[in-house]
Amino acid sequence: MKVYLTRRYLFSSSHRLHNPLLTADANRETYGKCNNPHGHGHNYFLEVTVSGPIAPATGMLCDLAHLDAVVAREILDRFDHQNLNQLQEFSATVPTTENLAIQCQQILSRVALPAHLESIRIEETANNSFEFAGAQPLRR
């Protein structure tokens, strides 16, 4: 019996979409207003989905406080109220929300979570969201 539990978190960060390998014109062409040299920011909603069996004694998939603590330490403390472009995680990639989603999934894959990491989803705005499950198929 496999259940999927999703917890939703919020962090706020600034970024600028800019690839130094492209010309200034190409950057403006590619990224539009997201290329503004002064940057801009978002409230990112991160959904972390974990999966597995229900423990009969507790009725729970995992300890939520434990999950919250790991996500706070590994993701929220790292990205909240930061300029993503300045962070080592984006030293070689543009901090699009695609790349941010991949980073979050990879960071959480490397640490011990209280249940199996299934996938992550990030809403950049109410209109844009991105999902990443690594090598496994995304369960919908």
């Binding site: 999927y4 999703t6 917890r7 229900i54 004694a57 300890d63 406080a65």
Partner: protein
């Protein structure tokens, strides 16, 4: 195959308690959810069914039928109830969101023919939900 999702809400109280544990162990594992006087949530239930579109009606399922099944099988028993004391599934198991989602699946799975139940998604609050696919 097309997927249709119907949303419904119910409000219920519950508490987390394993009778095989002493009070200290219940408090350690379940925290404030172990308060035996209970607490409550506004649950949002999303039921997704999968099937083919009927050539005559253009429906995958008659929404009125789906609503009636949800009301009769789930909402009538769960809404404005104490899940621990009034819902049969939870006399022997803890009414966590995980277990409630599975219980709802079992109540609905055989009631929706010819469409298949695809997913039960249950929100305990806007930042926490459980999905169950009957696996």
């Amino acid at each position: 195959m097309i997927y249709l999702t119907r949303k419904a809400e119910f409000s219920a109280s519950h508490y987390y308690h394993n009778p095989q544990w002493n009070p200290e162990e219940n408090l350690r594992v379940f925290g404030k959810c172990a308060n035996l006087n209970g607490h409550g949530h506004n649950y949002t239930l999303e039921v997704t069914v999968a099937g083919e579109v009927d050539a005559v009606t253009g429906f995958v399922i008659d929404l009125k039928l789906l609503k009636d099944v949800l009301t009769r099988q789930v909402l009538d028993d769960f809404d404005h109830r104490n899940l621990n004391k009034e819902v049969s599934e939870f006399t022997a198991q803890v009414p966590t969101t995980e277990n409630i989602a599975v219980a709802i699946w079992k109540r609905l799975a055989t009631s929706l023919a010819p469409v298949q139940l695809h997913r039960v998604r249950l929100y305990e609050q806007p930042d926490l939900f459980v999905d169950y696919y009957g696996e």
